[in-house]
Amino acid sequence: MGGHYRYDGSFAGLLTLLARLLPARILPDAISVDPPLQQSLFTVVTTVETDQLLVEQFWEKLSTHLAPTCLRIVRLAFLADHPGRELMICRYLLLAWEGKNIGNMLAHSDVAPLWKLSQQVGREAHRYLGFVRFQEVEGGFYYAGIAPDHRILPLIAPHFAARFRDQQWLIHDNRHGEGIIHDRNRREWLILPMNVHAEPQLTLAEERFQVLWRSYFTTLAIAERENLRLQQSKVPKKVRPWLVEFS
């Protein structure tokens, strides 16, 4: 039992690791992304190489044994920016491995935290369906910068791909250094590592629409009902730099 395990940080990587651990009922002491920041002298670290074939078999097995909502919880929790997420997932799935019907055990101590975490991720992803602001830049595409707490890009990509099919666009997660690129001609999107080196150059139309939007937005507020605290709980300070109407 126990032990320290490392994987490559991808979902497939984690599944590979779990495919090895769960059947042996092993609950590790730690799971970390390769390479780890520091190692204690006496721990033995096992690094697991991602194995696509194994992943597919394992996922199929999970899909037949677990309700879709449970799989969704696992997927969402994996995207959480939370250092303990791998171990939490491991604990959760171990319960299922013991034959428990985890779908309904919402109050269990190995279920509730993961469920909560997945809800946080899901909620943030939902919020970002509204919090993305595209800017039309020279070169014929739309750019949006965001800095979400969790790695929500895979969750929001399908929504924007369906909605802005006829646009070339890009959503850049500045915090995690990755972005989605949508190609309107090929009708597909990709998530890639991404960093920005220069300010995007806005088109004239872009500047005009930003001005119009800002003035529209300020007009909407009803002065007698001002409630900045409520506004702040809905639009936290940390997301405002990315929102045209707050900049």
Partner: protein, 430 residues
């Protein structure tokens, strides 16, 4: 050009901002090759400094009006600058905002120019440009003009996701007094017509999916509360009727706050926002909790309690039904317990299949124990002195809520429950 557009946009947004309907939910349009789709669960894009969510470009086409409604800033006899956007400009603005993901769609209303039919045609032209010219599949909510020709009403419903016509005032007398140019029939006629067309459309679409959708997100209405002397009982009963007879998706309540003076209007109604808030809570109970209007209000107490939410109020009047054992009670009964909302009731039903729940499990499932504790048992155990004397319990349940000033109330302009638990559901739960 941009400056002029900005001025007009400001004036026309100003004129529509008191219109409370905001939800863009309940529709689902797929995007084939154009732009946009209507998400079925509603997405808020921003929140104004009064805490209201922004999801639609909400504007008037024009603030000119041939009518003279007492409560309205755009009425004929009021001296304000009159401006107008052309249908093409409305469409261009909508698309420009939508492409940048500022909005979920358009909410288009207007003052009445020349005639109801002429005005209705302008609105339709804007929407047609969006749908056909820009191939826009996003959400559109169109206001119907009272007295408009049924053919135009039908056309509007074929282009828009939701249509609405404002009831304005809860009673015929109120309407005659404050909006003398509009008759109850000019409002209710189109409402009835839209409901008929929705029903027919639903049946036709059962037979063939080729039939175009008619107002897929249904219709809603709005009324001003507190400008005339109706009781809450009259209002809530009317809403119940509207939900039942015309299958309205939402009834919105707008607390009357004077924007202009008129001898027919009350000067400064008492706690208008608190009253509005309670009406929304009562409305929520009608739509999602299986309550009937007469359970919430009767002749002896025709107005909602301002200090207590209506569900807690109901529970205190029916103490014989409590405490409820949460491991056994039916879903419908769970829903009637203060502090247990639709979501937590569903979770309880799911979780207890796995084994009996204890008191401590409930908070995890989202139950607001502060309120629920007096009304429940779990495995036969109570979570507090549930035999508190009624009057004492009442003040206990009121405690803490007091500090909210009127202006601090959050407007529950929320969207209907979606089943997906992940979605951040809003506030209305009681």
């Amino acid at each position: 050009m941009a400056i002029d557009m900005m001025d007009r946009l400001k004036i026309l947004a100003e004129g529509a901002k008191y219109d409370v309907s905001c939800a863009s939910s309940g529709s689902f349009r797929r995007n084939r090759d154009g732009i946009g789709n209507a998400a079925s669960c509603g997405i808020c894009h921003s929140w104004t400094s009064d805490g209201r969510c922004v999801s639609l470009l909400k504007i008037l086409m024009t603030n000119s009006c041939i009518y003279d409604c007492a409560y309205c800033i755009n009425r004929r006899s009021n001296d304000v600058r009159r401006v107008m956007l052309t249908p093409a400009e409305v469409a261009e603005l909508t698309i420009g905002f939508y492409r940048r993901n500022y909005i979920e769609g358009l909410f288009l209303s207007t003052g009445v120019v020349r005639s109801p039919d002429y005005t209705m045609e302008l609105l339709i032209q804007a929407v047609r440009t969006l749908r056909q010219g820009y191939r826009f599949n996003g959400y559109i909510h169109l206001k119907l003009v009272p007295g408009a020709d049924p053919l135009l009403v039908e056309e509007a419903g074929l282009l828009a996701d939701r249509v609405s016509i404002n009831l304005e005032l809860p009673t015929r007398e109120g309407l005659a007094l404050l909006a003398p140019d509009k008759s109850r029939d000019a409002v209710v006629g189109p409402m009835r017509q839209v409901n008929k067309l929705i029903v027919i459309n639903r049946e036709e679409r059962q037979v063939s999916r080729q039939v175009p959708r008619f107002a897929p997100a249904g219709q809603s209405t709005q009324m001003i509360v507190g400008a005339t002397s109706e009781t809450d009982r009259q209002i809530v009963t009317l809403s119940e009727e509207l939900y039942r007879r015309f299958e309205l998706k939402r009834v919105y309540y707008s607390a009357f706050i004077p924007v202009i003076t008129d001898s027919r209007l009350p000067v400064r109604p008492a706690s208008p926002l608190r009253r509005e808030h309670r009406l929304y809570q009562a409305d929520w109970l009608l739509r999602y909790y299986g309550f009937r209007a007469h359970e919430l209000l009767d002749e002896e107490s025709p107005n909602l309690d301002t200090e207590l939410d209506p569900k807690t109020g109901w529970a205190l009047r029916h103490r014989e039904m409590f405490p409820v054992e949460i491991n056994r009670a039916d879903y419908e009964v769970l829903l009637r317990i203060p502090g247990i909302g639709v979501r937590s009731a569903k979770r309880i039903v799911r979780a207890r299949r796995q084994g009996h729940l204890g008191i401590d499990d409930l908070a995890i499932l989202g139950v607001v124990m502060k309120r629920a504790r007096y009304f429940i048992t779990a495995r036969g155990r109570t979570a507090g002195a549930s035999n508190l004397e009624s009057s004492l319990l009442r003040s206990t349940l009121m405690g803490g809520k007091r500090k909210q000033a009127d202006s601090q109330l959050e407007l529950p302009l929320s969207r209907p429950q979606a089943d997906n638990e992940i979605i951040d559901l809003v506030t209305g739960e009681l």
